[in-house]
């Protein structure tokens, strides 16, 4: 989705960039209730552990055989004592302190070594990467607790050795995660830009790549520290970690095990403490991961509804079905994205009609609302945050937006189909194109696989794919971009639609391939009387293919009419300027007529005409009130107070 641009009257160059409100990390974290709970518990545990030296606790290692195995709530020993008569509360607090310290230290060591390996392997790639990652794989081939045991067996038991063992065992997690991210980053242009700025590889790794990898390191740390505490505790439990009299949670548990039958409270209390500690750390860790993951903070993982939310105000003037029986008639459609307090008016009071067999071009700059318009027609805008707030989409006397879900689903890919800019969004990478066509056919009508396959091959033939029967066996990635787009067109044709909505279907293609696809669409449309809504940012393409054109700006259609008439004598200043700033082949070397400034942000539209800040003709009247479309000729209208004059000036200009 394109970035949301901001409004300004000055040029693009002078416009003040928007400072997006960064959602505070803590707020993101606390939004997750479990993480909040974990944080409270963890904070309490950490505070107690840190304050251990100044808390009024008994000496954890002072033995008192007379007081051995006192139950909890005994006088002077809140949690009782262990088999040597040591105060359990004090031992637990000091043990937690040690376990925490061990876990954090092991995490830091693993993060430092693992991230370094991952960064170096990912950045330099090639043989170094191969060698490093193969060794990491070897490390991972062992079950990790066995590996830790083996390491301690070699190094000998002891606190520090247990720490090393746990750290080594966890290095692969860091190395793999960090390498993955680094590989992606080191192919980014900004890394090459840093090289062009004269930086060496070491400096680039530290000052360009590392800051971008840091969030991943933090996430990996926060999600592994709990396990590392558990693993060190495990080693101590087996007597391989902390050595008596010093105790961490693991060794307290281990000691308690010996007296489990006579004094179960020792193990129970130690077990509960370990559970609380690790649980709270993991809850916080998951919370940190979710809060730092940009996809989650953008709300992208909220599952979109199958149909756009429709909450339309009662509106009298769009209620009557259109005259005649057009392929599609859109009346006063408004689609908004409602994100918190912000409302993005992506599509604002849009009306147009496509007659049967007609091709309407929808032209505009990125962010003008073309795609949202196209997706709104069959309720395909993701909700949340999308909401259709007004308008009707008429087809065969019915309002599509009032149809039941089943009818809507039957319409999609049936009588109305879509073609997108990137055919890979609609093609599954692991199935042959023939199978996918069969699937598309059988989703809408009963047919045996063999019948459907014959039709699939016929469809591929129809979109002029050479050797169609062979190509049907191909996987999407085995085809070139142009061939894939032909397959996407074949999919769109599968169920004999009468309307195809094509959203920038040729933008990603080379000009020679684009010319072929445009010619194909034009032929198909004439052959089978298809209506076409063709979305593009390119007037050249519109003039090749479309009977009529609608120009969008800031969510509104600002001008609509027959292609030739609009191109020859635009009635809206925006149309005129947009046409003028496209370089035309054959006019030689020259300065271009740029439009100053940028389109406004659709969450902060100015009053009156949205184009006024950039319009050379703007007057005070332009900045007040809604500007309705005015008819300037037969089936031609424009949303401009001076549409008639603009059009007349253009006619005279071109005649002169």
């Amino acid at each position: 989705m394109s970035a949301i641009s901001t409004s300004s009257s000055a040029g693009d160059a002078a416009r003040t960039p928007e400072r997006p409100k960064r959602r505070s990390f803590l707020r993101l974290l606390l939004r997750n209730r479990l993480a909040g709970l974990g944080l409270v518990v963890l904070a309490a545990i950490v505070a107690i552990a840190i304050l251990a030296p100044i808390l009024p606790l008994a000496d954890p290692n002072a033995t008192a055989p007379a007081n051995r195995l006192l139950p909890p709530l005994s006088e002077g020993h809140l949690l009782g004592t262990d088999e040597l008569g040591r105060d359990l509360l004090s031992r637990l607090v000091w043990g937690t302190r040690l376990s925490l310290f061990m876990g954090v230290a092991a995490t830091l060591v693993a993060a430092l070594l693992g991230s370094t390996i991952g960064l170096v392997a990912g950045y330099f790639g090639g043989r170094l990467d191969n060698a490093l990652m193969r060794s990491i794989d070897m490390l991972m081939a062992f079950p990790y607790i066995l590996l830790a045991l083996a390491i301690v067996a070699v190094l000998g038991p002891g606190l520090l050795n247990a720490l090393y063992a746990v750290a080594i065992v966890n290095i692969p997690f860091f190395a793999r995660n960090i390498r993955g991210v680094t590989v992606g980053l080191s192919h980014k242009d900004f890394v090459e830009a840093a090289r062009l700025s004269g930086m060496g590889h070491g400096r680039i790794l530290v000052s360009e790549v590392l800051p971008n990898v840091m969030p991943v390191i933090v996430i990996t740390m926060s999600t592994t520290v709990g396990w590392m505490i558990l693993e060190t505790a495990g080693l101590s439990f087996l007597g391989l970690g902390s050595q008596p009299p010093q105790a961490d949670l693991g060794s307290i548990l281990g000691e308690g095990r010996k007296v489990m039958l006579t004094a179960p409270h020792v193990t129970t209390i130690a077990g509960i403490t370990i559970f609380l500690l690790v649980m709270s750390i993991n809850l916080v860790g998951d919370g940190v991961r979710d809060a730092l993951d940009p996809r989650l903070s953008a709300g992208a993982l909220a599952r979109p509804a199958p149909v756009t939310r429709i909450a339309r105000a009662k509106n009298a003037d769009d209620a009557a079905p259109p005259e005649g029986s057009p392929a599609l008639a859109v009346r006063r459609l408004s689609t908004r994205f409602e994100v918190g307090e912000r409302i993005y008016r992506a599509v604002n009071d849009v009306s147009f009609t496509i007659r049967r067999g007609e091709c309407l071009g929808l032209v505009g700059e990125s962010g003008s609302g073309k795609s949202v318009t196209a997706l709104s027609l069959l309720g395909l805008v993701p909700s949340p945050p999308g909401v259709i707030r007004a308008g009707r989409v008429w087809r065969e006397g019915e309002d599509v937006l009032s149809l039941s879900r089943e009818k809507l689903r039957a319409l999609r890919g049936g009588r109305v189909s879509y073609i997108f800019q990137d055919p890979l969004t609609t093609l599954h990478p692991l199935f042959t194109v023939g199978d996918q066509l069969v699937e598309a056919i059988r989703a809408h009508r009963p047919a045996s696989h063999a019948e459907a396959w014959t039709q699939a091959v016929a469809l591929l033939d129809r979109v002029r794919i050479p050797a169609a029967a062979d190509r049907a066996e191909a996987l999407p990635h085995e085809l070139s971009g142009g061939m894939r787009q032909r397959v996407a067109i074949a999919m769109a044709l599968a169920n004999e639609p009468d309307l195809i909505i094509a959203d920038e279907p040729t933008t990603a293609l080379d000009v020679t391939v684009q010319a072929q696809i445009l010619a194909l669409l034009d032929e198909l449309r004439r052959e089978s009387g298809l209506a076409l809504l063709f979305i593009t940012h390119d007037f050249g393409v519109v003039s090749q293919l479309c009977d009529r054109v609608a120009v969008m700006y800031a969510g509104k259609i600002v001008e609509e009419g027959p292609t030739q008439a609009v191109l020859e004598a635009p009635a809206h200043p925006y149309t005129r300027l947009l046409i003028a700033c496209v370089p035309i082949l054959g006019s030689g070397k020259r300065a271009l007529d740029a439009i100053p400034g940028l389109p406004p942000a659709v969450d902060r539209l100015p009053d009156g005409c949205a184009f006024a800040p950039r319009c050379p003709r703007a007057t005070a009247a332009c900045k007040e009130g809604e500007i309705p479309p005015v008819s300037v000729a037969d089936r031609r209208s424009a949303r401009c107070l001076y549409a008639g004059e603009v059009m007349r000036a253009a006619t005279e200009g071109s005649a002169a």
């Binding site: 970035a3 641009s5 040029g11 693009d12 160059a13 002078a14 416009r15 003040t16 960039p17 928007e18 400072r19 997006p20 980014k188 242009d189 900004f190 090459e192 830009a193 840093a194 062009l196 700025s197 004269g198 930086m199 360009e208 800051p211 971008n212 700059e365 002029r464 070139s480 061939m483 080379d510 000009v511 020679t512 391939v513 684009q514 010319a515 445009l518 010619a519 669409l521 940012h537 007037f539 050249g540 003039s543 090749q544 293919l545 191109l567 300027l577 947009l578 496209v582 370089p583 035309i584 082949l585 054959g586 006019s587 030689g588 070397k589 300065a591 740029a594 439009i595 100053p596 940028l598």
Partner: protein
């Protein structure tokens, strides 16, 4: 050739092969000849446009010129001085003379750095400017690309595409290079912003006496900004010459196909008569002319060896055995 027209940038037989070598098991890995035998010369103050379809080697050529990709064969000379060990020198050796502007303006800016840090990097590492000199130069650069100085403390995500591309241009100009390689600098921008940036670029070229190598798939954009053009197909330059002449009367059939495919206002879509065969498989290039599979003029001799780029008069050259008729001529040459 006199001193004033001695080329500032020259390549000779430049080529780049990716892949190749053997796998651990000794099998040959496929080789792709991304660029083959490119010989070009750009005069100071000139803009050379490079056009061609995706995958034809434009970007690889550009990246070799700035040292991001070491060439497999051939030489590059800047200012008459051959960069003999170009393969080892890397961008640091080139950076003060030749710089690069990326296609995608936002991905070329590190999201975690302020604009000031981004602009200072070349000043620190390429020309080792001291702090006051950097301060001055950074302010000057912002002025050159018409951005307000207070933007310096902002981060890249706060800028629109057009603004980000201005920052990319400022960074390229920081160390005062004399040549700038622009790789599709306006393709990612909206048309209205595209015109703003193109105008800025031509203005800077005159003001700072720069030389451009301007890569684009859009012929109309190249026509608006360049004096000469090189058309690339399948890794080779197939036609060069003054832009207006090449576009008015192409000699290579591929150039003509490109020109007739460009969508133009007022033209209707027509089923192109060119066969729909696509680019040849780059790992198994055909022995002769790579365009033979799509060429309406193809004859038997086209399929034997790749046709060399031969002069065709008036500063023009084309790599075709049966070129299209010259302007004014009425029969096939």
């Amino acid at each position: 050739m006199n001193a004033s027209t001695a080329p500032i940038l020259e390549t000779s037989g430049l080529g780049k092969t990716f892949g190749g070598g053997r796998t651990l098991l000794g099998a040959r890995k496929p080789q792709v000849h991304a660029v083959r035998d490119v010989t070009l010369a750009v005069a100071p103050g000139e803009t050379l446009g490079v056009v061609g379809e995706s995958g034809c080697g434009k970007s690889t050529l550009a990246r070799m010129l700035v040292g991001l990709v070491p060439p497999t064969s051939g030489t590059i000379a800047l200012d008459g001085q051959a960069l003999t060990d170009a393969a080892k020198a890397g961008p640091r050796a080139f950076g003060r003379t030749i710089q690069y502007v990326f296609q995608d303006p936002t991905s070329a800016l590190n999201p975690r750095k302020t604009i000031r840090q981004i602009l200072e990097a070349p000043l620190i590492h390429l020309i080792e400017a001291d702090a006051p000199a950097r301060e001055r130069r950074v302010a000057e650069l912002m002025d050159i690309v018409s951005l307000r100085p207070e933007f310096l403390e902002r981060y890249p995500h706060e800028f629109s595409g057009g603004q980000a591309q201005r920052i990319g241009i400022a960074r390229a100009l920081a160390a005062e290079p004399r040549i700038v390689v622009l790789d599709e600098p306006v393709s990612a921008l909206d048309v209205s912003v595209q015109a703003q940036v193109l105008n800025l670029l031509s203005d800077l070229r005159t003001r700072l006496g720069l030389t451009y190598l301007f890569i684009s798939h859009d012929l109309a954009v190249v026509e608006a900004i360049a004096e000469r053009v090189a058309v690339m197909y399948f890794g080779r330059v197939v036609e060069t010459g003054p832009v207006d002449e090449v576009f008015r009367a192409p000699r290579h059939p591929y150039t003509r196909l490109l020109l007739s495919s460009a969508p133009a206002i007022g033209a209707r879509a027509e089923a192109s008569d060119a066969p729909q065969a696509e680019l040849p498989d780059p790992t198994r290039p055909p022995p002769g002319c790579a365009f033979a599979g799509r060429c309406p003029n193809v004859r038997d001799d086209c399929r034997t060896a790749p046709p060399p780029l031969v002069p065709m008069g008036r500063g023009r050259a084309a790599a075709c055995l049966h070129p299209l008729p010259a302007e004014g001529a009425d029969g096939p040459a």
